[in-house]
Symmetry: C2
Subunit: 192 residues, 2 copies
């Protein structure tokens, strides 16, 4: 399977790493504190860090990330108000990252799945579904295959421009969870 | 229960009317061809018409809709490309409608639930959930109560500005259905 580097060891990085390792992928983690000293070796690199950390990581690793699939999982919310996104309305965190890393294949994924639903592999009795958007078909398919090997469903959500909509879904889902209208073990499921 | 006027007798208008009538609400339909001649009498008025028809309906009924709850269910997509919305990126069809009807209480709802999931009252085994956004708390609550009486779940998705995110969800869900990645009987469910 794939060799995968995950930058970030928080709840999402740990959950994503667990799923991908279970799928037989070769997973290594880089702690946020190791950024800049640890080399990136995976063909797929998951940036499991909060949105504000993306710019520095992109700058630090731009050279090493060239030619690789880079996965943006961020939800770029204003976490003080929970009432808006902090990226341009017609753009996305993923589009910004692609602009910073023009030689990488940026893919948006995992921003609509709470960490608990990755570990449980189900949401409300339905298989946890990872929605994947990106412009590079091979990069999307490689990530989707790694996700499926780990026992989750992966769906092609379209081009990288659709990250705008994925980030809207993530934003809405976070507001519902913070408002205690859905639990952190639930949220949006995909019925097929 | 509530007196509800539904403008539009397509799949969505019929499905919404069915659910609300089952809940004991007093439901009347106005055909699209009767717009301008039939009076609006409901305290809640559901505009179950495609996005391009909203402007004319708002103009025709602005006076009669004053003081009433007006429900926008539209998904303002470019239906030729299925690749973009036709409203401003930082706005929504619902915000546009509110601007056209400043004396009405505009609520966004039903744009994330396919017609079949309203009739079936379930999506993938989970209760069909109507996400309701709006600035007038009483208007939102009246619609939510009418929906719940019909056997569905209704959740307060926040202020009318959150219609931007609801329309993003609707857009994404439509692209998945048109791409045959989810069936028209499925799509996004809410796990609680």
């Amino acid at each position: 399977m794939a060799r995968i580097t995950i930058i970030g060891t928080g709840a999402m990085g740990t959950a994503i790493g667990g799923v991908l390792a279970e799928g037989g992928n070769d997973v290594e983690h880089i702690r946020h504190s190791e950024v800049g000293t640890a080399p990136v070796t995976g063909e797929i690199v998951v940036l499991a860090v909060p949105y504000p950390a993306l710019a520095e990581i992109a700058e630090t690793y731009a050279g090493q990330l060239a030619g690789r699939t880079v996965v943006d999982i961020s939800n770029p919310l204003d976490f003080e108000t929970f009432d808006s996104l902090v990226v341009p309305a017609d753009g996305s965190a993923a589009a910004e990252l692609q602009a910073r890393l023009p030689e990488s294949h940026v893919v948006k994924a995992f921003n609509t799945t709470f960490a608990a639903t990755l570990g449980a592999k189900e949401v409300g009795g339905l298989p946890t579904t990872v929605l994947v958007a990106g412009d590079a078909a091979a990069a999307k398919e490689a990530l989707a295959a790694a996700v499926r090997a780990g026992g989750l469903t992966a769906l092609d959500a379209g081009p990288l421009s659709r990250a705008r909509e994925l980030e809207a879904v993530g934003f809405l889902q976070l507001t519902l969870a913070v408002g205690e209208l859905v639990p952190w073990t639930g949220g949006f499921a995909v019925a097929r």
